[in-house]
């Protein structure tokens, strides 16, 4: 099978080739291995990958149906040296975001110093006043972060967005690797690839370290919205691999600011909740009263220090896309360091000058809603119709706080098996970082998402994207950050709890 260099009109960086006939050194072996396969053989292996994933239930919900998340058979490779630099940049970013959250839900020094207007926070829909007074015992609000990176035309990695609420996708990293090692075991004997299966024990250790100090033998649970959630598979996988109970809101009850899990053997106290339920749905007393997937009283139990919610509530204020524009400032201010990773060039539309410039030539920019996720609401100016641009213009004028503008970046491309040929497709990278309060550990590699349509730039699974197994090559000359995973401490297993649930009614207000 001939994998060849194909140039890209947008000037995108090609991950595998530096020039026609010139594979980058880290890809040489892979290229030789792939070229040894006949196209029919690749088709068979590709089908085998899909089957493995479907059999294991690795799917996501797209337009109301469960679909497999397509795994491309051509892996993406990151060199040890590059990974070292990237992982340090990600860890730095997570530390800065932690410091920012502690400041926002605390003294607010960054506002007093005049480095960021307070109004950016008070106008953010994710600024959670109920989070005030909740102090995480080990200072960690971001147990898990997903930092989205792209590689620009010059080969530089930059941060596209930070995800510090409930980032998902790590289960694909684990399952992709499992499927790839089955289908392409020969490739792995030719390469020294960093394993990814230590993630659950890293997460478990971080959750354990986050437990209230007075909890002697802390009990950890994974709280899922339930089987209808797009990431339910991931909730099941992580709970199983950590050896902790997977619960839904109805399995937990708060009494006098303590949280208990209902089991057939009675109630058991719970100390750390790795929650995969959004703030809005988490506690009907504080947020939406109509939630049936939350747990009443959870926020006050966390405030009383009897339970820790991971990630913290109100974290969304740190991944608001307007706040993103200040992250390099956070790194300098809180850490006294120089940012190791750059942001994509971004314009704040509340600034009159920037707004005038962007509105004057909307087609030249990418416009994003500040609180969108999963690629929702993103308008790529030169792909948009006149009508779309007109309504966007109006929306920005009405609410400049709600949008940011970015220079369009031609995401790097990577050879990808599409149809029965290998062609370049645009990719990004979501590495996952785990913070245990002592150290931020970054899972080697992360989730490479690939836009399967030719020329398509939005890689989200909700927009029909696929993924690639992402390899970080092990070079012994480079010391690897935290290579030895800590021994994990497993909690006991409990029998499945009985199901019961009932909606809440709001108490009538007093006039």
């Amino acid at each position: 099978m001939g994998v060849v260099f194909e140039g890209d009109a947008t000037g995108a960086w090609n991950e595998m080739f530096s020039a026609p006939g010139q594979p980058r050194p880290i890809y040489e072996r892979l290229l030789a291995d792939l070229n040894a396969y006949q196209p029919q053989e690749l088709r068979l292996r590709s089908d085998q990958l899909s089957r493995t994933l479907i059999e294991r239930g690795v799917t996501f919900a797209h337009s109301g149906e469960e679909r497999p998340f397509p795994l491309d058979l051509v892996p993406r490779i990151l060199g040890a040296l590059e990974w070292d630099r990237l992982s340090r940049g990600i860890a730095q970013r997570v530390q800065a975001l932690e410091a920012f959250l502690a400041d926002v839900y605390g003294p607010g020094k960054i506002f007093d110093e005049g480095l960021m207007p307070r109004a950016v926070i008070t106008s953010s829909p994710h600024f959670c006043r109920a989070a005030f007074g909740i102090t995480p015992p080990n200072g960690v609000r971001i147990a898990v972060a997903g930092i989205d990176l792209i590689r620009d035309e010059h080969g530089n990695f930059c941060v596209l967005e930070d995800n510090v609420r409930i980032p998902s996708g790590v289960s694909y990293v684990i399952e992709n690797r499992r499927a790839m090692t089955q289908a392409f075991s020969a490739l792995f004997s030719d390469h020294r690839v960093h394993p990814v299966d230590s993630y659950p024990s890293r997460l478990f250790s971080a959750l354990l370290a986050a437990a209230p100090r007075k909890a002697v033998d802390p009990v950890i649970v994974v709280l899922s919205p339930g089987v209808h959630n797009a990431a339910y598979f991931e909730h099941v996988l992580l709970a199983r691999m950590m050896g902790v109970e997977l619960v839904e809101g109805r399995d937990l009850v708060c009494r006098s600011n303590h949280v208990y899990m209902r089991t057939t053997n009675g109630e058991r106290a719970v100390h750390v909740i790795y929650r995969r339920v959004d703030d809005d749905w988490l506690d009907p007393l504080q947020f939406r009263p109509d939630t049936v997937i939350g747990v009443a009283g959870l926020v006050n139990a966390a405030r009383a220090g009897n339970v820790v919610l991971s990630n913290g509530i109100g974290n969304g204020v740190a991944d608001d896309k307007l706040v993103y524009t200040y992250v390099p400032e956070f790194i300098r201010f809180y850490l006294g360091e120089k940012p190791l990773l750059d942001n994509v060039e971004t314009y704040r539309l509340e600034d009159a000058e920037a707004r005038a410039e962007v509105l004057g030539s909307l087609a030249k920019y990418v416009i994003k809603p500040v609180d969108g996720s999963g690629g929702r609401g993103i308008v790529i100016g030169h792909h948009a119709t006149k009508t779309e641009l007109r309504s966007l213009h109006k929306a920005i004028v009405a609410s400049p706080r709600s949008y940011i503008a970015q220079r369009p970046v031609a995401l790097s491309t990577h050879p990808t098996f599409v149809g029965d040929a290998i062609s370049p497709r645009h990719i990004d990278l979501r590495p996952f970082a785990v913070n245990d309060g002592e150290d931020v550990w970054v899972l080697p590699g992360g989730l490479t998402r690939v836009a399967l349509g030719e020329g398509e730039l939005i890689v989200n699974s909700s927009r029909g994207g696929g993924s690639k197994d992402t390899w970080v090559l092990n070079d012994e000359s480079i010391p690897f950050r935290g290579a030895v995973p800590p021994a994990s401490h497993r909690s006991r297993r409990y029998p499945p709890p009985p199901r019961q649930n009932e909606e809440y009614v709001a108490q009538k207000g007093e006039q």
């Binding site: 506002f111 207007p117 307070r118 109004a119 008070t122 106008s123 006043r129 109920a130 005030f132 007074g133 009850v253 708060c254 009494r255 006098s256 600011n257 009907p284 007393l285 009263p289 009443a296 009283g297 006050n300 405030r303 009383a304 009932e502 909606e503 809440y504 009614v505 709001a506 108490q507 009538k508 207000g509 007093e510 006039q511």
Partner: protein, 281 residues
């Protein structure tokens, strides 16, 4: 400082249920705060059924009593009793408009300048704000807006529900203190004057006798920033007096409801709010 007014306040509220309620989670904001113009000598909250209470201070500085009741109960009662010394505030010389609209202050008070769903106003209600803003003295401007609202929106108990917005109250030209306060806050914010909602109590008698118990009320009024926070009561057409006892502040009612909660069970009926105030000195 002038002589203080000593008040003993008893606030009783609650619900009965058509049957029994269970799994009830609540937060009461019924404890007056100690501030420059009032000192709380003692306060306590009692809940029936008797259950453990926890207390914390929220983002806006209000004292919150949180509790949950798991056992079935036909009735929930919450009673707050407090002893407060209160002084009349003096009206400080206000900042000029330019200072008030400086970047530093508009950023510091951004959340008291942005409209909320409860305070947002559009249409004819805004017709006069240009004229009021021409008044050089911010206090006079606020009085003009407050008097306007008092003249337009009639105090009619039961005319609105507890969840009414400022716009709804304005459209009906009727409401209670909460609504009149929301409309006034909406106007002040539209003029660039930081304004916040005050939840508290009003001792009604102007010349009260020591030891007489009078029926008071849960009350709401406005504080605006003019160099310092300054109170005005648009419902009664007066400035904040020593007879106004502050419980808490917020952007609007939803930040500082006296009692909010959820429960599982049948329909509920408000027991009726009782506020009794006795002058102690």
């Amino acid at each position: 400082m002038s002589e203080s007014l000593g008040l003993s306040i008893r606030h009783h509220t609650g619900f009965t249920y058509d049957g029994v309620a269970k799994a009830s989670y609540n937060e009461a904001r019924m404890t007056p705060r100690s501030l420059g113009i009032q000192q709380v000598q003692s306060s306590k909250i009692a809940v029936r059924p008797v259950i453990p209470l926890s207390t914390h201070v929220d983002y806006f500085g209000s004292i919150v009593t949180a509790f949950d009741i798991q056992e079935t109960h036909p009735k929930l009662e919450v009673e707050s009793i407090s002893q407060v010394d209160s002084w009349a505030a003096t009206l400080e010389t206000p900042l000029g408009w330019n200072d008030l609209r400086s970047e530093r202050l508009t950023d510091r008070f951004s959340e008291f300048l942005l409209p909320t769903d409860r305070t947002a106003l559009v249409g004819a209600v805004m017709d006069d704000i240009d004229a009021w803003q021409k008044l050089a003295d911010v206090h006079e401007c606020v009085e003009a807006a407050s008097n306007f609202v008092r003249g337009e929106v009639f105090y009619v108990p039961g005319a609105t529900t507890v969840s009414a917005t400022a716009q709804e109250a304005w459209d009906r030209r009727k409401g209670v203190c909460q609504d009149i306060t929301h409309v006034t806050i909406g106007l002040l914010r539209a003029m660039g004057i930081p304004a916040r909602y005050v939840s508290g109590y009003l001792y009604p008698a102007t010349e009260p006798l020591v030891d007489d118990v009078v029926e008071g009320q849960s009350h709401a009024w406005v504080e605006y920033f003019s160099g310092s926070w300054t109170g005005i009561d648009p419902t009664n057409g007066v400035r904040e007096t020593e007879r106004h006892i502050i419980v808490g502040h917020g952007r609007d009612y939803d930040d500082v409801p006296p009692l909010k909660g959820i429960y599982q069970g049948p329909e509920s009926t408000q027991l009726g709010v009782v506020v009794e105030i006795r002058r102690t000195h």
